[in-house]
């Protein structure tokens, strides 16, 4: 079972990432709903890294590594962008305000935080690591 993948920073690779995560989870016989939630959380973080942190620069790469230990799913996503996400900047979205202003973005990390049990971001120089964990039955 493949548990690591390296992709260039292109939106076209989001589908590759989703398939990679759902293929990895297939052997654990989780419900379709739970698989979709985990795939979604990973997709959101990877999309942010591709579009915002790496400005869709296809010469930049993301490294993804998956693990399942004691019913705990974990993923590690590494990149080398100068722009690192600061979790302290997160604000719960006010959806009525988003609708009123016609905002397109700003709800992805809310999905990630609500789906996953643990969300961690760390940086050392230009090297950034995001780790997501979720207990699965």
């Amino acid at each position: 079972m493949k548990n690591a993948i390296r992709i260039s920073c292109s939106r076209a690779n989001l589908k590759t990432v989703r398939d990679f995560v759902s293929d990895y989870l297939a052997v654990y016989h989780l419900s379709e709903l739970h698989v979709n939630q985990i795939v979604l959380a990973v997709d959101e973080v990877v999309a942010n890294l591709i579009i915002h942190a790496n400005a869709e620069n296809e010469t930049q790469f993301l490294q993804l590594k998956l693990a399942m230990e004691d019913h705990m799913f974990g993923i590690e996503i590494e990149d080398d962008s100068k722009e690192s996400y600061q979790p302290s900047s997160f604000r719960e979205p006010d959806l009525l305000e988003h609708i009123r202003l016609g905002k397109k973005g700003g709800v992805g990390m809310a999905l990630v935080n609500r789906i996953m049990d643990r969300v961690e971001f760390s940086s050392s120089g230009n090297h950034n690591v995001c780790r997501l964990y979720k207990k699965v039955i």
Partner: protein, 109 residues
């Protein structure tokens, strides 16, 4: 993402086929941005073949909702798969948007 359109007297139905993510959602945004969309009383979104939606897809609907409301155009979703509906629920969007089980219910609104 493939979008099929069907128009009747007062209703535009968009059938979504595929996955709405940060890559494909621009296609939907282009369709909803067209000014003639607001000529209809209702825009129905058939989600039967919508297999996946991320925040980018949700963002497209969020960004057009006020414009639709201002133009008195109803936006109604139907035939939504449970896993897609769950994403609306996680954010609380299911209470802010009109989602019904079937096409007949969508038409009746």
């Amino acid at each position: 993402m493939k979008i099929t359109q069907q128009t009747t007297a007062h209703t535009l139905t968009l059938s979504l086929d595929g996955e709405l993510d940060a890559s494909s959602s621009v296609i939907l945004d282009t369709e909803l941005t067209k000014s003639e969309v607001l000529n209809h009383q209702k825009v129905l979104i058939d989600c039967q073949r919508l297999n996946y939606i991320s925040s980018a897809g949700l963002g497209v609907f969020i960004s057009h909702l006020q414009r639709f409301q201002d133009a008195n155009v109803k936006l109604v979703f139907f035939n939504m798969q449970e896993k897609v509906h769950n994403v609306f629920e996680i954010l609380g969007l299911d209470t802010l948007m009109t989602i019904v089980p079937s096409e007949s219910e969508a038409t009746a609104i």
